[in-house]
């Protein structure tokens, strides 16, 4: 069963081809790290897959009606918008929006989802605080909890761990890996290749307007790919504590 299937997906913005011919399938149990240099099209790929951008080719998600899509995939954009000074609990509860019909209010079932997401992200102590007055990292954690509350088979997140402290970065990656183990799927764009190598089941490397490499971390983070796409050298080792990856030098 495929949770997301892209066929020949392409995006052209203002006459410039950002992405061309992206074909991939994503199934349950996968935690995909979407990696690539700045401007490689990571955000564009995810937004086009969700149907938020005009695109060529097909995306199984974009083909769904908006309401069904909201129940199938959650999306955490890079911009951490919180427009009004609502409480963290209210903010997280917005994730239930696609599950509520018409004028229907939140049920006990919905509130249970909110409570679980708050607990998962370690935000119970901030439940009644005003979201706009939290630190940037705490806001990011609250927005991840919001996406978890949507309770979808597929979660897509754009740089979810940027700006988090090391403990929260690792905890968040572990939450995503846990979702994958439960039979869901997560796709997250990441710049920390070390965390990507440790936690993701699969990496998709974007470069030169398309998918440059796709597979398990050790087959994607090869010296050749790193030199060609990222222009860096790196140290990659498999240790008793799991894979360790450290970028070293920029190749001039």
């Amino acid at each position: 069963m495929s949770l997301l299937s892209l066929r020949d997906l392409g995006v052209t913005l203002r006459g410039r081809a950002i992405l061309k011919g992206v074909t991939l399938d994503m199934g349950p149990g996968e935690f995909i790290g979407l990696i690539g240099p700045n401007g490689a099209g990571k955000t564009t790929l995810m937004r086009a897959a969700l149907g938020l951008l005009p695109h060529e080719g097909t995306s199984s998600l974009a083909a769904l009606p908006p309401e069904a899509r909201g129940q199938h995939a959650a999306w955490m954009p890079q911009a951490r918008d919180i427009a009004w000074p609502v409480t963290v609990e209210t903010l997280v509860a917005l994730g239930r929006t696609p599950h509520l019909a018409g004028w229907q209010g939140m049920t006990a079932h919905d509130r249970a989802h909110v409570g679980r997401a708050l607990a998962t992200m370690g935000l119970e102590g901030l439940r009644h605080r005003t979201a706009t007055r939290l630190s940037g990292g705490e806001q990011a954690m609250a927005l991840i909890a919001r996406a978890l509350t949507q309770d979808t088979p597929l979660l897509m997140a754009d740089e979810p761990i940027a700006g988090l402290d090391p403990a929260n970065q690792i905890a968040t990656m572990a939450v995503f890996a846990g979702l994958a183990r439960q039979g869901r799927a997560v796709m997250a764009s990441l710049h920390d290749l070390g965390l990507a190598a440790r936690h993701c089941t699969r990496l998709i490397l974007l470069g030169a307007g398309g998918v440059a490499a796709d597979g398990p971390p050790e087959t994607v983070l090869t010296p050749d790919n790193l030199a060609r796409i990222f222009h860096v050298t790196a140290h990659y080792a498999t240790t008793p504590q799991g894979p360790v990856f450290q970028p070293l030098e920029v190749i001039q």
Partner: protein, 327 residues
């Protein structure tokens, strides 16, 4: 939330009653209300049913319209400085009314003025939908609104500029200040259907406006149909504000200040702010209309002037407080 809803509803009810029993005719409260309900002969039922009742009803309807439209506009644009006049509908409705006064149509036919104002509002909406397109963002909508407001304002000035005599000009100026005096049940019946339709349209947007707290991208990914929400917002606001201007002239600051005042009391949730602002707007306009009758009963103080005189310093105070909280 319940206490706030009951409190605001009770306030509106009390002010509505006060609006019915305060007036220059010198009818006692008991006699007035009896005449209103039971009717009978003499001047009292006439005063109550033909003068005070429409005035109080219009106060509730217009105040609720302006408060609701302001809350919806602020929710959509995610900006506490937005107000319902932003999309240019008030300006174009006023232009329609001014043209009716200028051409003398308003003097020959009672309905000419409100109908011309509604035609103006309709033209303004068509223009904004053409300019901002079906997929344009909120910035396009604001810019188109500013352009239409400016054009309508310039044309209104042109009409004043070319007005044949000072009486015609002063009639236009006084009308533009906004008032609920000397309105009839006809005005109520003109405005009511549009206000009900526009009000229901905007109240239906609550969940979408809540979702927009997370930004347009996240809201759209949660299943929100953004283009449809925007169209509903523009048409609903136009119906509310257009009909309000058509029957009462331009009344400012209610749509801006009321949502701002009530936001902290509803936990800043845009959906709850919708109904709260509708009630709050009704209370504020009824209070202001009572004040114009009590402060200077002889001088016909205009309602729009009072709301601006009270609203602007209140708004400054709020900005001052917000500034303090941010430091």
């Amino acid at each position: 939330m319940r206490p706030l809803a009951f409190g605001l509803a009770a306030l509106v009810a009390a002010l509505f009653l006060a609006s019915l029993v305060v007036g220059p005719a010198g009818i006692t409260a008991g006699a007035g209300l009896r005449a209103l309900v039971l009717g009978g002969d003499g001047p009292e039922p006439l005063v109550m049913r033909e003068i005070r009742l429409p005035r109080a009803l219009l106060g509730v309807m217009i105040g609720a319209s302006l408060g609701l439209a302001g809350a919806a506009m602020q929710g959509y644009l995610r900006n506490p400085l937005a107000e319902p006049g932003l999309i240019g509908v008030s300006g174009s409705a006023a232009l329609g009314a001014v043209l009716a006064i200028h051409t003398g149509l308003a003097a020959t036919l009672t309905l000419a003025l409100p109908l011309a104002a509604l035609a103006g509002a309709g033209t303004g909406v068509l223009l904004i939908l053409m300019l901002a397109g079906p997929r344009g963002g909120s910035i396009t909508l604001i810019l188109a609104g500013i352009a239409i407001s400016a054009l309508a304002g310039a044309l209104t000035s042109l009409v004043l500029n070319l007005s044949p005599n000072p009486y015609a000009a002063s009639e236009i100026v006084f009308w533009m200040m906004g008032s609920l005096a000397d309105r009839s049940m006809t005005h109520v019946w003109i405005a009511l259907p549009l206000m009900l339709a526009g009000g229901l349209a905007l109240l239906s947007l609550g969940r979408g406006l809540d979702a927009l707290t997370l930004g347009e991208d996240a809201a759209e990914a949660m299943g929100l149909r953004l283009a449809r929400l925007r169209l509903t917002l523009v048409l609903g606001t136009a119906a509310l504000v257009g009909s309000a201007v058509a029957v009462a002239g331009a009344i400012g600051f209610v749509g801006l200040v009321v949502p701002h005042l009530l936001r902290p009391l509803v936990g800043a949730r845009p959906s709850r702010l919708l109904w709260a602002s509708a009630l709050g707007g009704a209370a504020m306009l009824l209070a202001a209309d009572l004040a114009v009758r009590l402060i200077l009963p002889e001088r016909d103080l205009k309602l729009g002037v009072l709301t601006a005189i009270v609203g602007a310093p209140l708004f400054l105070h709020l900005i001052y407080k917000t500034r303090g909280a941010q430091q």
